[in-house]
């Protein structure tokens, strides 16, 4: 184990001193940020237009304070002003932008139709927002009928259709809170996903590192100081730490940006028990692919000469991507369940499902975790056997037949 740590330390140091690695470390999150920034710039220009709508109100019923209260409560981006202008005098609206005139008088109240004049360019949601003002006006109308406060409240309550499924009913969440809960669950899932991707990508560097060992013909020198098992473990540990460094850099760059641009309390959502399980799954996934890659890397003389067999193995981590569509559309469906039980797809599919599902299928989770852990043990053992022989076979790719022979030996 001490020797493994030495190898791990060396791999970390070697990569951190390598320009290619450093550039790679920052380029992904920076590209990500650039695209996010460009996206938000376009988004900003849209919202900027809708931000200031100047609303002039000709108030003849003294409801202006009540209206103002409603606007404030609904957090509408309105700039409200009273005006003495008459309906007939509103003519120069063509020249203005984001401006509206509302005329509230006895006639309008009685007929139930309040005239609203708007400029050509106006927030597309303005006419919906205006509807909010109907409540205080209705209240006036009802009070004029002479009903008691209780009766008035009953009339005002109205009737609403609210979608209620069995699950939400039992949880007792209102639709509004459920929407928020989605984001809350998504955050740990996305976090685990980032870790999964980062360390799987870094895990692929293991593969290069193992075959590089052969290409540089240094394996025999190194193996005179430690056992192949030590070397393999050291590589797996070293690249795991490098993967975590990648995650830290990624999150360190992206998180401030997300916090700045959105109001989602990410940190709060992240510090939940669910995160531990999801991140645990991501780490297990790393161990599995690291074992596969280090073994396969040892069978190859050069990355560029990968045969069909090796190429196919390289694609394994991307299998869950094929399942993204079906799993997201039906997280409890057949494809999702099958994906949960195939070792190569289990971690990815599991993270996707747990992010989507409100009720976690614990039985499936436990079975799936057991499958992943058993696979890791098997792959580690196989990789050890392949690595031991393969790492010293210079200048030649091993055929699947040879690999099979080493495994059986």
């Amino acid at each position: 184990m001490r020797n493994s740590m030495k190898v791990a330390k060396w791999e970390i140091k070697r990569n951190l001193k390598n320009k290619t690695f450093i550039i790679g470390l920052f380029i992904t999150p920076i590209l990500f940020l650039v695209f996010m920034f460009i996206g938000s710039m376009f988004g900003d220009s849209d919202t900027a237009e809708s931000e200031t709508t100047t609303v002039f109100i000709n108030d003849q019923l003294d409801v202006y304070p009540a209206l103002q209260e409603v606007v404030e409560q609904s957090e509408l981006n309105w700039e409200m002003q009273t005006t003495e202008l008459n309906e007939s005098e509103v003519t120069d609206l063509d020249k203005e932008e984001n401006t509206a005139y509302i005329f509230i008088d006895e006639v309008g109240l009685q007929s139930g139709i309040i005239p609203v004049y708007t400029s050509d360019e106006i927030d597309p949601y303005f006419i919906n927002q205006v509807q909010l003002l109907s409540a205080p006006l209705q209240a006036i109308k009802i009070s004029q009928l002479g009903l008691s406060e209780e009766e008035a409240a009953t009339v005002m309550q109205g009737v609403a259709f609210i979608e209620t499924t069995e699950e939400t009913a039992s949880v007792g969440e209102s639709p509004d809170e459920a929407g928020l809960g989605n984001v809350e669950r998504l955050v740990p899932g996305i976090f685990a996903g980032v870790i999964l991707l980062s360390i799987v990508f870094t895990g692929m560097a293991i593969f290069q590192s193992a075959s590089q060992e052969k290409k540089d013909k240094i394996a025999e020198i190194i193996l005179s100081s430690l056992t192949p098992g030590d070397l393999m473990q050291g590589k797996i540990i070293g690249y795991f730490v490098l993967g975590l460094i990648q995650v830290v850099v990624f999150i360190g760059l992206i998180l401030p940006f997300v916090l700045w641009k959105t109001d989602i309390p990410i940190i709060e959502y992240l510090l939940v028990p669910e995160t531990v399980l999801l991140v645990g799954i991501a780490i297990l996934s790393y161990l599995m692919f690291a074992a596969i890659f280090v073994g396969i890397g040892a069978t190859m003389a050069d990355v560029t000469t990968a045969g069909n067999f090796q190429g196919m193995v390289m694609m394994l981590p991307f299998l869950p991507f094929i399942m993204i569509g079906p799993v997201l559309s039906d997280p409890s469906g057949l494809v999702a369940q099958i994906g949960t039980y195939i070792p190569f797809t289990a971690p990815g599919v599991l993270i996707m499902r747990l992010t989507m599902l409100e009720e976690w299928p614990w039985m499936e989770i436990i079975i799936s975790l057991a499958i992943i852990i058993v696979s890791i043990l098997i792959f580690m053992k196989l990789a050890g056997k392949i690595f031991k022989v393969g790492i010293l076979m210079y200048g030649k790719n091993a055929s699947p037949g040879e690999i099979w022979k080493w495994i059986r030996a």
Binding site: Q212, D216, I221, S224, L392
Partner: protein
């Protein structure tokens, strides 16, 4: 002399081919022991078995200064035949890594690395990337890597391959001085002249079998008979009739007479016929090189000699 490592009855097969057929030898403290043999004779396989990079089918390898099981990797320095270095790292970094793997103190290693770089004409190269080194420089760095931790046993597989004569000389001197300081050295090589100059004992191997094993002196006395080279046109039958001549090789106008083992050169010279055409005459012992070529090409010089003795 204290024995460092004993190899006994080593056997190893690859597929159907038996690569080693019962190899046994010892390496002593402070001596240079050479393993010689043509390509594919089993030299590297023997060494890899000692290093635990391969495991023998049968036979044993005992490290005498080592209590406990396994290979005392920290006490062994190894320079493999197929060797290289990580490309995109600094010379100092990789040497320190190799020292660290052997549990050698880092600060001590640093001092030794700088001293050796200076000794090998690589002063100031410690912060140069390995990929910028020439092949010879790379070999020197690999050599430093194998001795940086002051090993008790140093195993060198073809240390001279690819080196220019100047570098060969530097290596030779360093290996000799390590042996004088008490390091046991096991060395395999093709360069017979170098081996002849520096080794104390040798083990010659062919097709996985021992051919010769003993001190250089014994081997020479036993196998290196005198040979007489005569420049001048002579009849081969006549040359063969000269007493104590085992075999005559003729090429153009020069003839090589292989002589009997017990020949006294001064006495034998007097037996030469008077009418022999001699432009030039040379009498010397067969070199290790010739013995080696003989074995490698199966000319059966040794067997022939054996028949004579039988």
């Amino acid at each position: 002399m204290e024995t460092m490592v004993t190899v006994e009855g080593l056997e190893k097969s690859f597929k159907d081919k038996k690569a080693l057929k019962g190899i046994s030898f010892e390496v002593h403290k402070g001596e240079i022991m050479a393993i010689l043999g043509p390509n594919g004779a089993g030299k590297s396989t023997t060494i890899r078995n000692i290093m635990g990079i391969m495991y023998p089918d049968s036979g044993s390898i005992t490290f005498h200064n080592h209590n406990g099981t396994g290979i005392p990797r920290n006490k062994i320095g190894y320079l493999p035949e197929e060797r290289g270095l990580y490309k995109n790292v600094k010379v100092m970094d990789i040497l320190l890594y190799l020292a660290d793997l052997k549990d050698y103190p880092i600060d001590k290693a640093k001092v030794r690395i700088l001293a050796y770089l200076k000794k090998f004409d690589l002063e100031g190269k410690e912060n140069v990337s390995v990929e910028e080194l020439s092949k010879g420089m790379g070999q020197k760095v690999q050599f430093i890597g194998s001795i940086i931790h002051e090993p008790e046993l140093l195993i060198l597989d073809e240390p001279f391959s690819g080196l220019d004569p100047v570098s060969q000389e530097i290596f030779k001197d360093e290996i000799r001085s390590l042996a004088n300081k008490g390091t046991a050295i096991l060395l395999s090589s093709h360069q017979m002249n170098l081996v002849e100059e520096m080794c104390d004992r040798l083990f010659m191997i062919q097709q996985g079998e021992k051919v010769i094993y003993g001190t250089l002196e014994d081997v020479k006395k036993q196998y290196a008979n005198f040979k007489c080279t005569i420049h001048g046109i002579n009849n081969i039958q006549e040359l063969e009739r000269i007493p104590d001549v085992l075999r005559v090789e003729q090429k153009d106008d020069s003839s090589v007479l292989h002589l009997h083992k017990d020949v006294e050169p001064s006495v034998w010279l007097k037996k030469l016929p008077d009418h022999l055409a001699i432009n030039e005459l040379k009498i010397n012992r067969i070199s290790l090189h010739e013995i080696f070529i003989d074995i490698a090409t199966d000319k059966n010089l040794l067997k022939e000699e054996g028949v004579v003795h039988a």
